[in-house]
C-alpha cells in the first residue's frame, strides 16, 4: 500500500513498494505526460518534482516518493512553469516533443533554485535531459527568455 500526493490529490494505491514512480504515474494513475525514455536515469524524460525538486521517476521507488509530487500536467499552475511553457511555444522549442515534458520539469526546478542562470549553469543543470531531435539551443534560449 502506498500513499501518494500527486498534483495536490491524495491516492492510496495497492502497488509494490519497489515499483518505480514512473509506472505508477503512467499505468496506475493514467497520467501520460511523464515519459519513459530509458528506465535507467539516463535521459530525463520521466522527470517529475518531489517537493518542487526535479527527480527521475523511473528510478524512484514509489515507497520513496514521500512528499508532494508534481507532474507536467500540473506545472502550468506554477508561475515559473507557466513562463517556461510560454517561452517554449514562443521560440518553437519542441520538435517531436517527447522529451519536452521532462525538459520543462527540469527547467522549472532549475529556475526555482537559480532565477537567472547563465548559459553554463543551464548546460550544467540540463545535460541530464536528452533530446534526440536536437532542440538544445532553443531550450537554452527559452530558459533565458522565461
Amino acid at each position: 500500500m502506498a500513499s501518494l500526493n500527486i498534483n495536490g490529490k491524495e491516492y492510496q494505491l495497492d502497488v509494490p513498494d519497489q515499483m518505480p514512480l514512473l509506472w505508477v504515474i503512467r499505468d496506475v494513475l493514467g497520467l501520460k505526460g511523464t515519459k519513459f525514455g530509458c528506465g535507467k536515469a539516463q535521459c530525463g524524460a520521466c522527470t517529475v518534482h518531489l517537493d518542487g525538486v526535479a527527480i527521475r521517476s523511473c528510478t524512484t521507488p514509489v515507497s520513496g516518493a514521500i512528499g508532494e509530487i508534481t507532474t507536467i500536467e500540473a506545472i502550468g499552475n506554477d508561475p515559473i512553469g507557466q513562463r517556461l511553457q510560454k517561452a517554449w511555444l514562443d521560440l518553437g522549442v519542441p520538435q517531436c516533443g517527447f522529451c519536452q515534458s521532462g525538459q520543462i520539469m527540469n527547467a522549472v526546478s532549475l529556475l526555482r533554485q537559480n532565477p537567472a542562470p547563465g548559459r553554463d549553469e543551464i548546460i550544467h543543470a540540463m545535460s541530464g535531459n536528452l533530446c534526440r531531435c536536437g532542440t538544445y539551443n532553443r531550450i537554452i534560449a527559452a530558459i533565458q527568455r522565461a
Binding site: 499505468d27 535507467k40 517556461l84 516533443g97 541530464g128 534526440r132
Partner: protein, 778 residues
C-alpha cells in the same frame, strides 16, 4: 466539402473516381518496393504519383468545415518532429484563406486508398504533397466562392475570399466559411487544371519566415498545432492513448539475429505479481524482413510487472539457425572489410581510365574511412497498442508507415485488410526506426490472446539497442591522383556496406540501386577518371536505416577525402572543392547510373553543381571562411546533396592541449528550392546539426559474437546539451524556381565530415574512424 468527418466512405469513392491516378496495387510491396528498384526505371511514374497509393488533391479528403466555421484539416502524414501536422495545415489554410486560430488538425488513419501515400520517410512529405495540398485548398476555396455566388445569384468572378469569409465586391455582402460549408460540400469538385492558386504576395504562411531566426525572435509564429499539448503533457504519443482496463507487455527476443526460442519455464514469469500470461511470438526466420524477431511475450497489468516478469525468465536460446551471425564481431568484421577494400569490386560507375590516370599523376593519395553501426534511438522507444475483437484488429501506433502496418497486421492475423484499423499517434521521434511495422505486429500477435482487451507492447531502451534495425556499418576506401598543378585527375571510391536489401534476401551483398543513389554514384566532381566500385559485404544483423540512410557514410568518406586532397594539393579547401566541381552544370542522374533519384523525375531533378556552389559560397561568406584562426582553433567545411536539396556546413571548433573539444559555432547553408515553412526548416537543420555531431563524436553500436554491446544511453552515447555548439546559424538560400527538395534528412550528411575537417584544421589530426570518441586525447 464535408461538414464533419462522418461520410468518409463517400469521400473515398469520389477520390477514387476522379483523382487517385496513382494507385499502385500490390500492398505487400509497400516497403520493399522502394528498396528494390532495378533497371525497370524507364516505366516508372515519379514523385507522388509513383508512390504506392499515389496522391489525391481532392478537397473533400483533407478539408472539413463545420457550421461554426471550424476548419478541420485531415493530416495523413506521420508527425515525428518535422512539424508536418502544422506545415500541411498551413499550406491548406493559406490557399483556403482560413483564419489560423480556427484551424484544427485531425490525424488520418492508415488507408492509402483514401488519402494517397502515407509512408513518411525519404524527406518527401512536403516535396510530394505541397502541390496536391495547395490544389486541395484552392479547390475548397473555389467551392466556397461558388456556393456564395449561387446564394447571391452573382457571377463567380465577382466573389472573393478574405480571411475566413467570402464577399461580393459590388454589394459588400459577406458570408463566413461556416455559413457556406453545407452548400459548398454538395458542389462538384472543380477540375484541378482549372484552379487558380494564390499569387505569392497573397500568401500569409507559405514561404514566410517566422519565429526564432538564428537565436533572435523577431517575429511571432503561427502557433504550432501540437505545441500546447506538448508543453502541458497532454499530447498523445504511442503509449499515451487512454483505455479502460488495458494490459501491458514486453518481449524477450533472441540475443543474436536468427536465434530461436528454446527451453524456458513460464512459471518463472507467472510468479511475479501482476503477470497474467506468457505468450510465444513466432519469429519469421532469416531474413526477418519487417516481421517480429520472435521470442516470448510477458503480459501483465502494468509495464513494470511485465518487465519484472521478463527478468525472471531463464530462457535457453537455440543458436543453431544463427550460427553465422553468432560469430559477428565488429572489430573482426572491420578487418574483413579493410581487406576487401584492397581488391577491385563490382564496378558501379566508370569514366576515363583510372589506372592510367594514376600512373600519370604527380601525387597519389589514399585513405580509408569507417563508420560503425548506428541506432536511431528515438526518445520514444517503439511501442504499440492492439485490440483484437470479433475478427477485427485496431492498432494505435507511432508509425511512419501506417499502410504497411495495416497490411502486415492483417497478414499476421489472417484478416482482411479492411478489418484492420491503424490509428497513428504522435511519434516521439522516429528517424527511420518507426518505418518498420514489426512492433505493431508484435502487439497484434499478443492481443489476439485477449479478445477485446487492448494490449500495449512496450520496447525498453535495452530492446531498442539490442534488437534494432541498425544503420549499416560502412568502410570506404578512396584513392586519387593530383597533377603537378594540384588538380584531381583520378578518383577511385570503393564503398563497402551491408545492404538494407539483406532484410529481404539474406545473400544480398551489394548496394541496391537506392543505396548507390544516396551520394555514391551521384558523386558530382568533374574529374577525368572516375572509378566507383562496390565490393561485397555480408549482413549479420538487421540492417535498417537512420535519417539520411546511405548518404551518411558516403558523404562522410567523400567529404573527408576531398579535404585531404585539398591539403595535399596545398590549396584552400573551398577553392579546391569548387575546382573539383568544375563548371556549373546540371548532371542527369541517369547519366551517372542513378535510377533512384529519390523517386523524382530525372527530367526535373538533377545534380545541379551550380546549386552546390551556391551553398558553399553562402556558408563560406556567413562563416567568415578564410579568416585567421588562433592556435588550436579551426574551421571545417563539407557539403552534400540529397533528397533533392543542397547543404553545406562550416564548423568552428577549438581543441585544447588535453584534447577536449569545444564547438563554437556551426553555419549551415541550405537550398531546398521553394520553402513551405521556413521556421520548421530551420528547426530541422538545427536538429540535423546536433544529430550529426553525435554521429561524428559519440554514436556506435558494436557487436561481439552477434550481440550488441550497447544497451542504454550510458554506453550508446548521443549528444547532450553540453555537446551542442554555442551557436547554430541557418542560412536558407532563396531558390523558389527550382523543384522542391526534402528537408528532414539532407542537412545531416555533411555535418560529421565538416566537424572532423574542423578538428583537423584545429589540430592537424585526421580522424578516419568514427566516432571520434577519445581519439583526440593524448
Amino acid at each position: 466539402m464535408e461538414s464533419g468527418p462522418k461520410d468518409r466512405l463517400q469521400i473515398a469513392n469520389v477520390s477514387r473516381r476522379r483523382f487517385l491516378t496513382g494507385l499502385a496495387g500490390a500492398a505487400a510491396l509497400v516497403i520493399a518496393a522502394r528498396w528494390d528498384l532495378v533497371e525497370t526505371a524507364e516505366k516508372r511514374k515519379y514523385g507522388a504519383e509513383g508512390m504506392p497509393g499515389g496522391y489525391t488533391d481532392n478537397p473533400n479528403v483533407f478539408i472539413h468545415i463545420d457550421p461554426d466555421g471550424t476548419v478541420t484539416v485531415v493530416n495523413h502524414r506521420s508527425e515525428m518532429g518535422q512539424g508536418i501536422r502544422t506545415s500541411n495545415a498551413m499550406v491548406i489554410a493559406d490557399e483556403l484563406g482560413a483564419d489560423w486560430d480556427r484551424v484544427r488538425v485531425k490525424q488520418a488513419e492508415g488507408d492509402h486508398s483514401v488519402y494517397g501515400n502515407q509512408y513518411t520517410e525519404a524527406s518527401r512529405s512536403m516535396r510530394q504533397w505541397f502541390d496536391p495540398l495547395r490544389r486541395a485548398g484552392a479547390a475548397a476555396r473555389q467551392m466556397l466562392e461558388q456556393a456564395a455566388a449561387d446564394r447571391w445569384q452573382v457571377r463567380l468572378s465577382e466573389v472573393k475570399t478574405g480571411v475566413h469569409e467570402v464577399w461580393h465586391e459590388q454589394s459588400g455582402r459577406k458570408l463566413g466559411f461556416g455559413e457556406l460549408a453545407e452548400a459548398a460540400r454538395t458542389l462538384e469538385v472543380p477540375d484541378p487544371a482549372s484552379l487558380i492558386l494564390r499569387e505569392d504576395h497573397e500568401l500569409r504562411f507559405i514561404g514566410r519566415e517566422s519565429g526564432l531566426i538564428n537565436g533572435v525572435l523577431e517575429t511571432s509564429r503561427p502557433k504550432a498545432i501540437d505545441g500546447e499539448g506538448i508543453v502541458s503533457g497532454t499530447a498523445v504519443y504511442g503509449a499515451d492513448v487512454p483505455f479502460d482496463n488495458p494490459l501491458y507487455a514486453v518481449i524477450a527476443r533472441p540475443p543474436v539475429y536468427g536465434a530461436e526460442l528454446g527451453r524456458f519455464h513460464e512459471s518463472d514469469a507467472l510468479n511475479v505479481p501482476g503477470v497474467l500470461k506468457v505468450v510465444r511470438i513466432e519469429g519469421a526466420g532469416l531474413p526477418a524482413a519487417f516481421n517480429p524477431l520472435g521470442g516470448l511475450a510477458v503480459v501483465a497489468t502494468n509495464t513494470w510487472a511485465a518487465m519484472q516478469g521478463r527478468k525472471a525468465l531463464k530462457i535457453h536460446w537455440d543458436y543453431g539457425p544463427a550460427e553465422d551471425n553468432r560469430s559477428y564481431t565488429s572489430s573482426a568484421y572491420r578487418e574483413i572489410l579493410e581487406a576487401r577494400a584492397q581488391i577491385p569490386g563490382e564496378v558501379i560507375r566508370k569514366e576515363g581510365n583510372f589506372s592510367k590516370a594514376m600512373e600519370g599523376a604527380h601525387q597519389r593519395i589514399s585513405a580509408t574511412y569507417y563508420m560503425p553501426h548506428l541506432a536511431q534511438t528515438p526518445m520514444e522507444p517503439p511501442v504499440a497498442t492492439a485490440r483484437v475483437q470479433k475478427g477485427n484488429a485496431e492498432i494505435w501506433a507511432p508509425t511512419q508507415n501506417p499502410q504497411a502496418t495495416r497490411t502486415k497486421v492483417a497478414e499476421r492475423l489472417g484478416l482482411d485488410v479492411t478489418n484492420v484499423t491503424v490509428n497513428v499517434t504522435l511519434l516521439g521521434g522516429a528517424f527511420g526506426r518507426k518505418a518498420k511495422p514489426d512492433f505493431a505486429i508484435e502487439a497484434a500477435a499478443i492481443a489476439q490472446w485477449f479478445e477485446g482487451r487492448p494490449v500495449t507492447l512496450q520496447w525498453t531502451r535495452e530492446d531498442d539497442l539490442q534488437h534494432g534495425y541498425y544503420q549499416t556499418v560502412s568502410l570506404d576506401h578512396l584513392e586519387a591522383g593530383l597533377d603537378e598543378r594540384g588538380r584531381a585527375t583520378a578518383w577511385l571510391h570503393r564503398s563497402l556496406s551491408p545492404s538494407t536489401m539483406s532484410l529481404l534476401k539474406a545473400d544480398f551483398e551489394h548496394k541496391s540501386k537506392v543505396e548507390q543513389g544516396m551520394g555514391f554514384n551521384t558523386t558530382p566532381f568533374d574529374i577525368p577518371a572516375i572509378l566507383l566500385e562496390n565490393p561485397p559485404a555480408t549482413a549479420h544483423v538487421r540492417i535498417g536505416w537512420i535519417r539520411s540512410v546511405y548518404n551518411l557514410p558516403h558523404a562522410w568518406a567523400i567529404q573527408s577525402f576531398a579535404h585531404e586532397l585539398a591539403i595535399a594539393a596545398g590549396k584552400d579547401h573551398r577553392a579546391f572543392l569548387l575546382e573539383m566541381l568544375g563548371e556549373d552544370r546540371k548532371i542527369s542522374n541517369r547519366s551517372v547510373g542513378d535510377t533512384y533519384n529519390y523517386d523524382e523525375d530525372p527530367a526535373i531533378y538533377f545534380i545541379d553543381t551550380g546549386r552546390i556552389r551556391g551553398v558553399i559560397d553562402r556558408v563560406a561568406a556567413e562563416s567568415g571562411w578564410g579568416k585567421e584562426m588562433p592556435r588550436g582553433r579551426g574551421l571545417g567545411l563539407a557539403f552534400h546533396h540529397s533528397f533533392g536539396s543542397y547543404a553545406a556546413v562550416v564548423f568552428d571548433v577549438e581543441v585544447s592541449e588535453g584534447g577536449s573539444l569545444t564547438i563554437h559555432r556551426a553555419d549551415i547553408a541550405f537550398d531546398c528550392g521553394p520553402q513551405a515553412n521556413p521556421e520548421r526548416i530551420r528547426s530541422q537543420l538545427e536538429g540535423a546539426c546536433i544529430m550529426g555531431i553525435g554521429v561524428a563524436l559519440l554514436n556506435e553500436v558494436s557487436f561481439e559474437n552477434g550481440v550488441a554491446q550497447q544497451d542504454n544511453f550510458d554506453r550508446y552515447r548521443i549528444p547532450r546539451m553540453n555537446n551542442a555548439p554555442r551557436e547554430i546559424r541557418i542560412h536558407l538560400v532563396e531558390n523558389p524556381d527550382e523543384p522542391m527538395g526534402g528537408v528532414g534528412e539532407p542537412g545531416l550528411p555533411p555535418v560529421a565530415p565538416a566537424l572532423v575537417n574542423a578538428i583537423y584544421a584545429a589540430t592537424g589530426k585526421r580522424i578516419r574512424r568514427l566516432p571520434v570518441g577519445d581519439q583526440l586525447k593524448g
